[in-house]
């Protein structure tokens, strides 16, 4: 009988070994994927046992996100509160007990919960666990300028749109405002999320949760002429003094493509004999239409790509809250196989066609010109500090490569200065400081309703700040009239620091 008993014993040992193997599987291999599951209540709760790090505006002066300590059944939980209410709400996002996370609260979660696997963190965490102490997350200091950010949100008011500003030398984002916005503290309150969802701006149909600065797509209109002009000059096909004749329209496929309407005249503006620089200054569509026809869509698109189009701009926010700019077809980024035949060169040249861009991308175009032709890599996290104040990491300014030659950048800089001095963007003039800018007024498909743009930087000879403003659904609202004044105030605010 002992033979059978031995076999039974072996079988029993095998069963128990299986259990050890299975436990090992769940606690090591599968642990990561289980922890990432949305319905994992344990991970959610244990995250709230960590004193989540603060999110601070530049210089650490303004607290954008902090903790609310709650004791329940002998346990201490740290819930989020947002002392600055809705300041940069979409960028910072939220971290709540009811819903998961968005914005920087999501993408920087590992830092904020102290879960990043550097050695000192791991040791600290273990010591705290043994001693039953609180685990503290790292604090995050952003590049956001709190006053300029607040001003931008105030100026946007209940209009739908976005304001983004950066230092063109470094790529540090000073302002990232999206409107309509919401109070992040509402999300965790009963019925608060529904209330936020119902928030409508003046445009009537848009979500307050959307970060328009990086996630909103708009026709760039004439601001795209910065890209077309870059292509025209940088490729050597044109100089700023190249001459054009403007009859008020340009001929494409045998049909007239008219210039923009002029509120002072009945019908399209007509300029007659002009240079490329004058065409830029007064944003004459027929000039750019002819430029586009001559250099072709492929060259324009290639230059657009150098500025960052067709790739998602890098930033610390979650990747799904940023969109690439470019030609769009059926709500998808479209890569034309043969641009020469598939893309209308004239309309592309003055920023209509199928172009869809984010405010951040247009800011990058303006900042590149300001930065002598090198595309600055945008960033919003200045540094990450440990609970004890030690620097965990610090962002170093870097570039995404050169888009255009320094000479081309200088020529464009000059052309943009004349736009503000005596062109379409005079509303952005700042006394004593030379401002460079470009207006944009994109058709929306609805008569007299426009997307109003202004992209600018200042001072023109030594750029410290670049800004892009977009306003949605402006009735007869031209970029130079409604967006330029906002850009002006933001630049003034940032330059006064």
């Amino acid at each position: 009988m002992n033979k059978q008993l031995n076999r039974l014993a072996l079988f029993a040992v095998l069963m128990l070994t299986t259990l050890i193997v299975a436990t090992t599987y769940w606690q090591s291999w599968a642990a990561g994927s289980l922890a990432a599951k949305q319905d994992n209540a344990i991970e959610l709760v244990s995250q709230f046992e960590v004193a989540r790090g603060l999110i601070l505006a530049a210089n650490g002066s303004t607290v954008l996100a902090a903790d609310r300590k709650v004791k329940r059944n002998g346990q201490t939980f740290y819930f989020r509160r947002y002392p600055s209410k809705g300041l940069a709400a979409q960028t910072i996002g939220y971290s709540t007990s009811a819903l998961s996370q968005t914005g920087l609260e999501l993408s920087l979660n590992d830092y904020l919960t102290g879960a990043t696997s550097n050695l000192s963190n791991a040791i600290q965490r273990t010591l705290n666990q043994i001693g039953g102490g609180t685990v503290y997350g790292d604090n995050v200091v952003l590049t956001i300028n709190a006053q300029a950010q607040a001003l931008a949100q105030k100026l946007l008011g209940d209009q739908c749109g976005a304001v983004v500003a950066m230092n063109p030398r470094t790529g540090a984002i000073d302002v990232m405002a999206s409107s309509p916005t919401y109070d992040s503290n509402l999300i965790d309150k009963l019925g608060g999320y529904a209330k936020v969802l119902k928030t409508k701006g003046a445009c009537g149909d848009s979500s307050a949760l959307l970060n328009r600065a990086t996630d909103g797509l708009y026709a760039p209109g004439s601001t795209f002429k910065m890209v077309t002009a870059s292509a025209a000059l940088d490729s050597g096909a044109f100089t700023p003094t190249s001459g054009f004749n403007d009859p008020g329209y340009c001929v494409e496929y045998g049909k007239h493509v008219s210039n923009a309407g002029n509120p002072d005249q009945n019908g399209p503006e007509t300029y007659g004999h002009v240079t490329l620089a004058e065409g830029f200054q007064h944003s004459i569509n027929s000039v750019f239409c002819n430029v586009g026809k001559q250099i072709g869509p492929k060259v324009i698109l290639d230059y657009a790509k150098r500025f960052g189009f067709y790739s998602t701009p890098p930033l610390e926010t979650p990747a799904n809250q940023r969109l690439p700019s470019g030609l769009y077809k059926n709500n998808k980024l479209w890569f034309p196989k043969d641009p020469a035949t598939e893309v209308d060169p004239g309309r592309l040249a003055f920023g209509q066609e199928r172009l869809q861009v984010t405010p951040l991308q247009m800011l990058m175009v303006g900042a590149t010109i300001a930065n002598g032709g090198v595309v600055p890599r945008p960033y919003i996290v200045d540094k990450i500090l440990g609970h004890d104040g030690s620097v965990v990491s610090r962002t170093r300014a870097s570039s995404l490569g050169r888009a255009i030659k320094p000479e081309t950048a200088a020529e464009l800089n000059q052309m943009m200065v004349s736009v503000v001095q005596a062109g379409t963007g005079t509303a952005a003039q700042i006394p004593g400081i030379q401002v460079a800018g470009k207006t944009g007024t994109a058709e929306t498909g609805v008569n007299k309703i426009y997307t109003a743009w202004f992209v600018s930087f200042a001072p023109a000879d030594n750029p410290q700040v670049a800004v892009a403003v977009v306003l949605e659904k402006q009735l007869n609202g031209f970029g130079g009239a409604v967006s330029a004044p906002i850009a002006k105030q933001i630049m003034q605010k940032l330059l006064s620091h």
């Binding site: 039974l8 069963m15 128990l16 259990l19 299975a22 606690q27 642990a31 344990i42 991970e43």
Partner: protein
């Protein structure tokens, strides 16, 4: 032997002390085990010296975790452990001369096994808890008679198969009669009460003893075949079982499915497989080192418990979270040592009845551990039974102490 017990007690007290349990618990525990040890020392001096300390270790781990999950439960469990130790002492004292006289009452054991299993079905004292009619209650106490029924059945099977093993091996049909009647009705009762975990357990024990007695793998194969046919029929016939299997195979869904609890359409992990999925999260959260005793997460931020039946059926997922892979593997290794000692007792025994009894008790112990922990770990479909010595539950503690008593009696005789 003294050292082993001493080591275990120190370990027990240290464990209790580090956790939130008070020192009194540890001291009380130490005295209780000392008492159990003294009884064993005088009545069965030649018994295997590891079994009782191992049982003590498991009980201490269980008690500590139960205390951590709910101090009031720990007090009740403590009382059950006292009763368990008393029953242990009683069994040893009563049967110290010769436990083999039990063999003479095999049919009585067989019938009482069925009787005990039937008890919860009786009106008046029977009670339905969590959809299964397994409990009887009398005077404020709840008891699962099936736990004792299991032991009675093992005694019957060991005795009957010892007597008939040769004729059975030759395949005389009429000798199968009593075996199949008693065993078959036990299974029937189990299906009727909806206790699938126990049904699986009994079937396994039956097969193990049958194989040990007859050495005929064909019998085992035939019964495994019957089991598969039966399972298929049960799967088709009972939605209860179908649901268990579905939860086992597909605990997570990406689309809403019908939820029988509330009649709505939700994700399965929010409904039928909620308990299993949250329990897996609990285990995964433990990682290698665990969160540490007292630091595990078992309730949501509002303080509501996340995993139902955590201290009974699901205690393993609590232990695995707080003690991590290291602790959980150590716990399973304790079970493994206990099981190996049990089989050693069986191998050392001199007569067929003793061998089969020890093997049946030990294999049942191992299989029970496998069924519940394997269910929690998604190795097999989940059926709720207790984890021996560790789970909260009086009947389970008592029957497991009887198992230890039985194994010690057998080993004492073999070593004498």
């Amino acid at each position: 032997m003294l050292t082993a017990i001493g080591f275990a007690s120190v370990y027990i007290s240290r464990k209790s002390h580090i956790s939130t349990a008070s020192l009194t618990y540890a001291l009380f525990f130490f005295i209780l085990y000392l008492a159990a040890h003294v009884v064993a020392r005088f009545t069965v001096p030649n018994a295997d010296p590891y079994l009782l300390p191992l049982a003590g270790l498991l009980t201490a781990i269980g008690l500590t975790e139960i205390y951590r999950l709910g101090p009031s439960n720990a007090f009740k469990q403590g009382l059950w452990v006292v009763i368990g130790v008393a029953v242990f002492a009683l069994v040893i004292v009563v049967l110290r001369r010769d436990y083999r006289l039990l063999e003479n009452y095999k049919y009585l054991f067989g019938l009482s096994a069925i009787g005990l299993l039937f008890m919860p079905l009786l009106p008046g004292i029977g009670q339905t808890v969590n959809g299964s009619r397994l409990w009887i209650h009398a005077g404020g106490l709840q008891f699962q008679p099936g736990e004792l029924g299991k032991l009675a059945l093992i005694v019957f099977l060991a005795a009957y198969l010892r007597e008939k093993r040769e004729v059975l091996a030759q395949g005389r049909v009429k000798d199968w009669g009593p075996l199949l009647v008693i065993w078959g009705s036990a299974m029937l009762v189990l299906f009727a009460t909806g206790d699938l975990g126990s049904a699986l357990l009994y079937y396994g024990i039956f097969l193990a003893i049958l194989y040990a007695a007859t050495a005929r793998l064909t019998f085992v194969a035939a019964f495994v075949g019957l089991f598969l046919v039966g399972s298929a029929a049960v799967y088709e016939g009972t939605p209860h079982v179908r649901e268990r299997v579905t939860n086992w195979l597909h605990p997570w869904t990406t689309q809403n499915v019908y939820c029988a609890f509330n009649g709505h359409y939700t994700l399965r992990q929010d409904c039928a497989s909620y308990q299993m999925v949250q329990s897996l999260y609990s285990i995964a959260h433990g990682g290698y080192g665990g969160t540490g005793l007292g630091s595990g997460v078992f309730s949501n931020a509002q303080g509501a418990p996340l995993i139902p039946f955590l201290s009974t059926d699901f205690i393993y997922s609590a232990v695995a979270q707080e003690l991590g892979l290291v602790g959980a593997a150590a716990l399973l290794l304790i079970y493994m040592v206990f099981v190996l000692r049990g089989f050693r007792v069986s191998l050392a025994a001199n007569d067929g009845f003793s061998k089969l009894l020890a093997a049946g008790l030990t294999f049942g112990f191992a299989l029970q551990t496998f069924v519940i922990v394997g269910g929690i770990l998604r190795v097999i479909p989940l059926t709720g039974i207790t984890l021996p010595f560790v789970s909260y539950g009086g009947s389970s503690v008592i029957s497991n102490f009887i198992v230890v008593a039985g194994l010690m009696l057998v080993s004492d005789r073999a070593n004498a």
